[in-house]
């Protein structure tokens, strides 16, 4: 049931995804919080270009429309894998408040901590600071010394927010 075209598309998208994940694991060891978003975008786009290139090499002898469909399918599959990895594994580890609370409690396990002790280690100011650092370094927002301001009208968070808003209207949630 697995045709050669199918196999090439799957191998290409899986290969590029594993390359992205491997590079992310290696490179991110040496990065601070603020560089994360920028490097993530560079890695995703870099592996995406490689994906298109491999598709073109694999299917160069076929007709233009077949090359287009195959390259697009492979790119979309790779993109979805990378997206799912980010929203299911990397993103929650890097920015989930719930997981951070679990880490704080894990640090003192089996004993317990009060709310005041927890807030001394992790609080809303730290949450805001980390996000401002990340957004500033990835050029999503800028800081002129006094004011913060959006520098890019379109970024992942705003697009995702718009999709969620549309879905909210549609589902009447």
């Amino acid at each position: 049931m697995l045709s050669i075209d199918d196999f090439l598309i799957l191998a290409n998208s899986l290969g590029c995804f594993f390359l992205f994940a491997f590079l992310q694991l290696v490179i991110f060891r040496f990065l601070g919080t603020k560089e994360v978003l920028k490097m993530l975008m560079i890695l995703i786009i870099g592996a995406g270009f490689l994906n298109i290139l491999i598709s073109l090499i694999n299917f160069y002898s076929r007709s233009l429309e077949i090359v287009f469909v195959v390259s697009l399918s492979s790119l979309v599959l790779y993109g979805l894998m990378a997206f799912l990895y980010i929203i299911c594994i990397f993103g929650p580890y890097e920015s989930s408040v719930r997981l951070r609370i679990i880490r704080e409690l894990y640090k003192v396990y089996p004993s317990s901590i009060t709310l005041a002790e927890l807030l001394k280690e992790y609080n809303s100011q730290k949450i805001i600071d980390r996000r401002l650092q990340r957004l500033t370094f990835s050029n999503d927002i800028t800081w002129d010394g006094i004011f913060y301001q959006i520098s890019r009208k379109k970024n992942f968070f705003l697009i995702s927010d718009k999709i969620a808003a549309c879905l909210k209207i549609l589902t009447k949630t």
């Binding site: 697995l2 429309e65 599959l77 004993s111 317990s112 992790y122 913060y148 879905l167």
Partner: protein, 170 residues
């Protein structure tokens, strides 16, 4: 192409059915399970139809229309399902990053303004309650402690941290 159209068509049918279901039910809770059920049914329908088409088209020469992309299209469907669920989940939850960006849309803001966007009561306490509700932590005499489930998650996070070498997130 036929496989791609088939898988995307069935996926959009599932999404549409789910949206209609949410509008009819009008309950103040996320309807995740119903979407998972719909998506599983859709996947069965896709593979059923795709295998039939596969047998029918075996003797035909390969063209753009009948390119044999049965598995790629199936995987596309499978990956799109959690992506939709993530966006649907997002209709209920607003992350601190989204709050910051929403505040900055069309206006400048000082650090103090952004700081006032979220308070500990707004962000830490509800999450603590969530963790208590899902039995990841327990409260004993005003102090919080991990349960077995919470400890397992903490262990997994520690392993992931060793693997990635990243500092703590949050």
């Amino acid at each position: 192409m036929i496989y791609l159209i088939l898988s995307l068509g069935i996926f959009f049918l599932c999404v549409t059915t789910h949206i209609l279901w949410c509008r009819i039910r009008r309950r103040n809770e996320l309807q995740m399970i119903i979407f998972v059920v719909l998506a599983c049914m859709g996947l069965l329908v896709y593979f059923g139809l795709a295998f039939q088409f596969c047998k029918f088209e075996e003797s035909q020469p390969i063209s753009l229309w009948n390119m044999p992309l049965l598995l790629s299209s199936g995987l596309l469907y499978i990956f799109l399902t959690p992506v939709y669920m993530a966006f649907y989940f997002n209709t209920r939850v607003e992350s601190p990053t989204q709050k910051i960006l929403k505040c900055l849309q069309g206006q400048k803001a000082r650090y103090a303004d952004l700081l006032s966007l979220i308070s500990d009561e707004e962000i830490i306490i509800p999450r603590l309650n969530d963790l208590k509700r899902t039995q990841c932590i327990q409260e004993k005499e005003g102090a919080y402690q991990l349960t077995k489930r919470g400890y397992t998650i903490g262990r997994f996070l520690e392993l992931y941290q060793k693997l990635t070498g990243r500092p703590w997130g949050g």
